[in-house]
């Protein structure tokens, strides 16, 4: 998959994967759920987004995975102004983003295997090219024995891992996860977290929205804290080994 998105002509910060400048966002004619957010994330970084329920975590992720647009302000992704992206560019940009959304969005009529293979099929790859990768990935997330299961027959934690498998199967440049450890016990939460760390080590930029303060604290990763839609600095936490 192409990895030269940030070679955009004339972009000063080539290692910047996204930048928000004074971004606000609202749903329809409702109030701003994000206000004046300015933010720049370097390629290959690993961030948590925290904040109470309704603070705007999911909304910020939606902006990043191009499911919503800022109502004001500028948003650059992969070095490109999102508002200037054409109808053809948007799907291509989405293919470089892996998403584990809060409501998982699995297709109930497709097997775990088919759900996972979806992004690769959409991108036009041949089954013979990727089926082994898909099987390997599912085994890696602990679903090796449930590859033919339909999502409704999976346990909550299994669904979550399936959604994660689908998010990462296309080797995205950014991985966005919204409460990926919401439904799982501590053991699995840790396993999922390690998976993200592993992907991050391979170069993927990772952003995780979570309520799991324990996980955030133990990871020692930088935090983007939202308070009523505003980015508020927490006591800075440098990465801890």
């Amino acid at each position: 998959m192409s990895r030269n998105a940030n070679a955009a002509a004339g972009d000063a910060s080539a290692d910047e994967i996204l930048r928000f400048t004074n971004v606000s966002m609202r749903y329809g004619r409702g109030p701003d759920v994000l206000s004046d957010v300015s933010l720049s994330l370097p390629r290959g970084s690993f961030h948590f987004i925290t904040g109470v329920s309704g603070a705007g975590k999911s909304s910020l992720l939606k902006l990043i995975y191009l499911a919503a647009r800022p109502s004001t302000g500028a948003f650059r992704l992969f070095g490109e102004d999102v508002t200037r992206m054409s109808a053809r560019d948007l799907p291509m940009a989405r293919r470089k983003i892996g998403v584990v959304s809060q409501d998982l969005l699995l297709l109930d009529h497709l097997s775990a295997f088919d759900n996972t293979a979806l992004p690769l099929r959409i991108a036009g790859h041949k089954p013979a090219e990727y089926r082994n990768d898909v099987a390997e990935l599912l085994t890696w997330v602990g679903l090796g024995a449930r590859m033919q299961a339909l999502p409704p027959t999976l346990a909550g934690g299994e669904k979550q891992r399936l959604a994660i498998a689908r998010a990462v199967v296309g080797r995205p440049e950014i991985l966005l996860a919204d409460e990926p450890t919401g439904n799982v016990d501590h053991e699995i939460a840790l396993r999922i977290y390690r998976l993200f760390v592993e992907l991050n080590r391979l170069g993927t930029t990772v952003i995780i929205a979570t309520h799991d303060q324990d996980l955030v604290a133990r990871s020692g990763r930088p935090v983007l804290h939202l308070d009523k839609g505003r980015l508020t600095p927490l006591a800075s936490q440098g990465p801890v080994a």
């Binding site: 995975y65 499911a67 109808a87 053809r88 799907p91 291509m92 940009a93 989405r94 293919r95 983003i97 998403v99 959304s101 969005l105 699995l106 297709l107 109930d108 009529h109 497709l110 097997s111 295997f113 088919d114 293979a117 979806l118 992004p119 099929r121 959409i122 991108a123 089954p127 089926r131 082994n132 898909v134 099987a135 024995a145 590859m147 033919q148 689908r166 296309g170």
Partner: protein, 296 residues
């Protein structure tokens, strides 16, 4: 585990659930409406053919009433009139009717008369006209006047006008009913497509999220619903065609009745039905899918 999964035999499953492809209720409704639309189309064609038949028969004929003048016998006058008309352009055949024939025609008004010779019964001359370029009444009249004959030409134009009007009403009604039914069929196809697509919002949402192009998503639904509509349209069209064929056979060469004659070639009118149904469904699916995607 009993279910051994052999990935080398794995084939990607269709994006859309298969069960819906055979949604019997949807197929039934579309098929019935297509059937009705095809039936009205056949009716319109038969009506049109019938109307053409009625006027065609009348256009092809004219009647000339000849009265004897001076010392001439009625028979001689009729013969002279027939002669005068025979060579005219637009006239294919001329036949002077015998006295008895003429009498037959007026008997209902006069009752039985013992001696026909006592009565100055006018003679009739039947003129068969060229269907393509029939001679006009004035042309016939002029030819008769030139021979000094006392004759009146009736080219049935009064009747033709009425019949034409009746035929126009039949044709217009049939077309209006056809347009209504075809419109209803199209609307049902469109509504059913929209409903079916809304029920598969999850597929639209997921495919959109993972980077499918709008056309990739909508073509999925276009194909699905076009196929359903084509199948339903084929069922409806075949049923209507079959019914038409049965009517054609029962009615013989004249169709149901001489008033609504179905020809074998009319049955071809049902052929575009599946294609049209599929096109309407595909278009509705595209519009709905694009709108759904935009709303995400």
């Amino acid at each position: 585990m009993s279910d051994v999964f052999d990935i080398t035999r794995w084939r990607p499953a269709p994006y859309l659930p298969q069960a819906e492809a055979r949604d019997p209720a949807l197929i039934f409704v579309i098929a019935v409406l297509c059937f009705l639309a095809c039936l009205t189309a056949l009716g319109a064609l038969a009506g049109d053919r019938g109307a053409r038949g009625w006027t065609g028969q009348l256009v092809g004929e004219a009647t000339v009433i000849v009265r004897a003048r001076g010392g001439e016998t009625p028979d001689a006058a009729a013969a002279r009139a027939a002669e005068a008309l025979a060579g005219l352009p637009g006239v294919t055949e001329v036949r002077a009717l015998e006295r008895e024939k003429a009498y037959e025609l007026i008997r209902p008004w006069l009752g039985d008369i013992a001696d026909l010779d006592d009565l100055p019964v006018p003679r009739l001359v039947a003129v068969t006209l060229d269907r393509k370029q029939p001679a006009t009444a004035t042309a016939l009249d002029k030819a008769l006047k030139a021979q000094g004959l006392d004759a009146v030409v009736d080219d049935h134009s009064m009747w033709i006008k009425d019949i034409r009007r009746a035929a126009g009403v039949v044709r217009g009604t049939a077309i209006a009913i056809f347009v209504l039914i075809a419109g209803a069929a199209g609307a049902v196809v469109a509504f059913a497509t929209r409903a079916g697509l809304a029920a598969r919002r999850d597929v639209v949402e997921v495919m959109h999220l993972i980077g499918a192009e709008d056309s990739q998503i909508s073509s999925l639904f276009e194909l699905r619903f076009a196929r359903i509509a084509a199948l339903s349209g084929a069922i409806g069209a075949a049923s209507a065609g079959l019914l038409g064929a049965v009517l054609r056979m029962i009615g013989g060469g004249a169709g149901i009745t001489p008033a609504l004659p179905i020809a074998w070639i009319d049955l071809l009118a049902v052929l575009p039905c599946p294609v049209l149904a599929a096109l309407v469904a595909a278009l509705a699916a595209r519009v709905t899918a694009r709108r759904l995607i935009k709303g995400l």
